[in-house]
Symmetry: C2
């Protein structure tokens, strides 16, 4: 369910916006309320809530409301899924380069 392409899509989409990455960055240092997330951002609370809803839909952030404050925190599993996608492609490319290197080394030996 974490490798569901639709979920991956939502995650990368969520990470594409600088404001949302800033929110993730803030949350990486610890949980925060909506207002605390909004504080460093030059936009209305309402806009922040909209970003937050996207982050939550993407699975990157989980929230829970106690009384009137919504507390947000990162879900590291989701972050790991995005990380993994990139890592796989990079490794695939690098393995290819290695094989190519081996091949070139071998053909040089055949004098």
């Amino acid at each position: 369910m974490l490798h569901d392409p639709a979920q991956l899509d939502l995650m990368f989409q969520a990470l594409a916006d600088p404001a949302r990455r800033q929110m993730v960055d803030r949350l990486s240092r610890g949980p925060a309320s909506v207002s605390q997330l909004a504080e460093p951002l030059a936009m209305s609370l309402s806009a922040v809530v909209q970003h937050l809803n996207l982050l939550e839909a993407s699975g990157l952030v989980r929230t829970q409301k106690v009384g009137r404050v919504r507390t947000c925190q990162i879900d590291p599993k989701a972050l790991r899924a995005a990380e993994h996608w990139i890592n796989e492609r990079r490794l695939s490319w690098e393995r290819r380069l290695d094989r190519l290197g081996d091949f070139l080394a071998e053909t040089r030996d055949e004098t």
Copy 2:
């Protein structure tokens, strides 16, 4: 220059689109021409070129034209930069959890 926030922005933006991720996926298995990249995609060549230009601007893909064919390949350094951003935030969060665990363990000892 790889940690330039503007460049990071372009990278995540580039990765946000499914078609572009599919192109990166294809390129992770080896270099390809524009037409080869376009083949599995249900859109015009023109659209593919536009995506490709974005990928190149983001630094994720490098291309070189020989004769009339443009050959594309991944730049793993750029992939690593995106990977790194995510990894740092995830680790920061997980370290926080560890410290919290230690704290709870200690306070339990104080009977």
